[in-house]
Symmetry: C2
Subunit: 83 residues, 2 copies
């Protein structure tokens, strides 16, 4: 069965997000002053086949931890749906 | 009221995603051969205050189109929740 995994990678809370600070400052210069915090991360949409949702979930965890994130600074979550 | 906007920025379908192709090839080299397609994009979590959800939604659309995306190559969608 074909699945679509949507993976959201963000910095761990303890990690400073300089890019987020830069974007917040830029938004304030554009008068979007009610913006209080910005975190920028990576977003992946990955199509994969697997026997069932549990197998697909295990695959996503495996390749995300092996390739897509930096364990020292990043954390992730994902959604899985039939494609 | 404080809101959290989750913004997902991806390439338009017509645009080649070289980074996605590189990641797919790397996943295949790691024997994740059931991966069929990879798209990489940007993910933002932005906290903002607004009078209500409609106002927050308008703000998100305004600053996303003004600063966060490249109109020629990218498209976006977002979720909005009370923070």
């Amino acid at each position: 069965m074909l699945y679509l995994a949507k993976i959201y990678v963000t910095y761990k809370p303890s990690i400073l997000d300089p890019q987020g600070e830069v974007i917040k400052a830029a938004l304030h210069r554009l008068d979007f002053n009610t913006v209080e915090g910005v975190n920028q991360g990576k977003y992946f949409e990955i199509k994969l086949t697997a026997a069932d949702e549990a197998a697909a979930s295990e695959l996503v965890k495996a390749f995300t931890t092996e390739l897509l994130i930096n364990h020292n600074t990043e954390t992730y979550r994902f959604d899985l749906e039939e494609a």
